[in-house]
Amino acid sequence: MGFIDNVSALFEKKFSKQICRDEDSERLVFFEKFKELGLPTIKNEDWKYTNLAFLNEINFQLSSCTKAIDTGLVEKYLSFLNGNDKIVVPYINNSIDESFVKPLSSFDYKILRNGSFFANTKLISKFSNFFDSSNPFNFLTLAFSTDSAYLNVNNGFENEIPIILFYLYDFEINTLSNTLSFVEVEEDAKINIIAIFINRSRDKVFANEIINFHLKRNSNVEVNILQFNIDNLVLIDNFNFILESGATLKINTFSLNNYFVRNNLNVLFNEPYGTAFLNGIYFTADDEFVDNHTLVLHNQPNCISDENFRGILDGTGRAVFNGKIYVARDAQKTNAYQSNKNLLLSNDARINTRPQLEIYADDVRCTHGATAGYLDQEMLFYIVSRGISKEKAKSLLLNSFVSENLEKVEQPDLRNFVKELVAKKLNLEDIFFCSAIDELTNASL
């Protein structure tokens, strides 16, 4: 039937009959725009190595009845926080489940039900600042969007308590999911976000999620994106950030076990003196695909961006890294760094890495580098010469390859959790987690 026909039929059925409602006519505009752009093909530069043709083979539905999810399940997935305080925004099957939401004092927290976002002109105009009109999926998300969350973090709010954007998919048919979120971080506020994507569906889910952040002056935001154990999920997430003067952003992505993931990370320096770190780790095994697509727009002078993505590719796993850095003519004294390193563990694994630099200012420091290689044989021999098996030696080196990026997570519970996830993946738990040696050495030195 084809993806476009598929979603057209869904749109028709769900919205066209009630087109008299304002919001639905808005939806129609967005949907027409989506159809106009169409499903991107590999001829599209932004999708050059990311073939979406497989979407044409799947028949998607919109979720009608939602399974009840009990709070216990969410707690289970968040048990790595060791019961510590957290703020959870739960997107359960495409809608925000209020029963999980605790009252928040330092936040202005709104849930915009089923399209009521379209009635909020203030938000719409804010949203347009972020909008990448060349990405058809942005229009698709708008056309189908269900609940939206709006969070406003008060001036000067500073708290270690993480805010969890919890995406849980548990459908019984092939389903589309489309949500929008806004996080407005007021001046001098500091927050820590953990976005988690979990799929429990046995059928395919195609999720297009948009998460927009506005970092006001001198605010400080860390966003950790966790993607593991999400078989059957086709995920295109769009994290968009606008930074004002003095704002600091730190993004860490962990794509550890995925069917298909496309991370769109867009950073816009709208005022001078902003700083953004974009770090990522991805593992791909047989039939897994991860695509990190970053765009850093240095529109203003004196900003720093620093990207560091590392991938380990095994079996027939595939990954893409596309990092675009744009430095406008007036963006003098820009510092922009980019590094993408990959280790290939099999002859069938593949990485396409592509830095794209567009620099129009002259007083700029900009470096980029991409590598794809195999494990260092000298290191491997040194380790096995101490009696450690070759398998374990490899794992130690792989762990070492990503350890720098694991250490970058500030929230301690999360840092331990991702370290543990990676150790488990590499069969190294016994070294890093089953004995008290680390604590002992750390404590007594």
């Binding site: 290191m379 021999f381 040194y382 101490r386 009696g387 450690i388 130690l396 762990n399 070294i431 050495t441």
Partner: protein, 254 residues
């Protein structure tokens, strides 16, 4: 008891013969020194013993504790009790010394049917053995050899030797790059690790290490072969006369 027996060993790298018929026997508790000019194949011998890939054994046999070690993987040789202190230790970023040794010691103990050490005892042992070569415990939490000075790397090799308690330790120029004080510390460390059931094969260019270690035998390697063997006095003679003395066809070279 015979620990290591090398018979008529010939080794090639990329088709080029480097070791050209070498014989050596080491018994329990003995300390053997190998001296010889640069490029004669001393490190090649050490690597072949440890099982480094890329070295082709063209002829000959190596028996370690009665087993043909050429059939064993490098990690199996280590578990059997062979240890190589590298001439150029390798940096392993992202792996701490403590974790590295914990992993190695536990794998070796498992192979020898010993219980894994409990965390507290292990930590004590780590600290003790690090102190033996003058490394304070902060080195345990640092990544293996990363950013270590040349001398610290060499000490770290002997620390690992102490942790792994081998039956045969091969020291490839552990003394080079050490200052006089460090040499004393390392040599005393090695001395304290000497046991009736532990043998050493010490590759060195200098008499000064042998002053501390007192070898039972000194061998001179030249152009891929052992050309002369003797007692500890041979090292003095060599130091006095230089390698030209050998090249001129004197003594053992007949």
């Amino acid at each position: 008891m015979e620990i290591l027996k090398i018979e008529n060993l010939k080794v090639a790298i990329d088709g080029k013969l480097i070791i050209k018929g070498l014989n050596l026997t080491i018994n329990s508790g003995e300390v053997h020194a190998i001296m010889g000019p640069n490029g004669t194949g001393k490190s090649t011998l050490a690597y072949v013993l440890a099982g480094k890939p890329g070295y082709e054994v063209v002829e000959g046999e190596i028996t370690f504790l009665g087993k043909n070690i050429l059939e064993l993987e490098p990690e199996e040789r280590a578990k059997e009790g062979l240890f190589l202190a590298f001439q150029y230790p390798v940096e392993i970023p992202g792996v701490t010394n403590a974790n590295f040794m914990k992993t190695a010691v536990n794998e070796v103990r498992k192979y020898r049917n010993l219980e894994p050490l409990d965390a507290f005892d292990f930590l004590q042992t780590l600290k003790e053995r690090a102190a033996l070569v003058g490394l304070d415990s902060s080195y345990l939490n640092r990544n293996v050899n990363e950013g270590f000075s040349g001398g610290e790397k060499k000490r770290n090799e002997i620390f690992q030797l102490a942790m792994l308690e081998p039956i045969l330790a091969v020291l490839d120029e552990t003394d080079s790059g050490l200052d006089i004080d460090a040499l004393k510390i390392v040599a005393n460390g090695v001395n304290s690790l000497r046991k009736p059931d532990r043998s050493f094969l010490v590759i060195t260019h200098y008499q000064r290490l042998l002053n501390y270690l007192t070898p039972d035998f000194v061998h001179v390697m030249y152009d891929g072969k052992i050309v002369i063997s003797g007692g500890k006095e041979l090292a003095y003679e060599l130091e006095a006369k230089g390698y030209d003395w050998l090249k001129n066809g004197n003594n053992g070279l007949k």
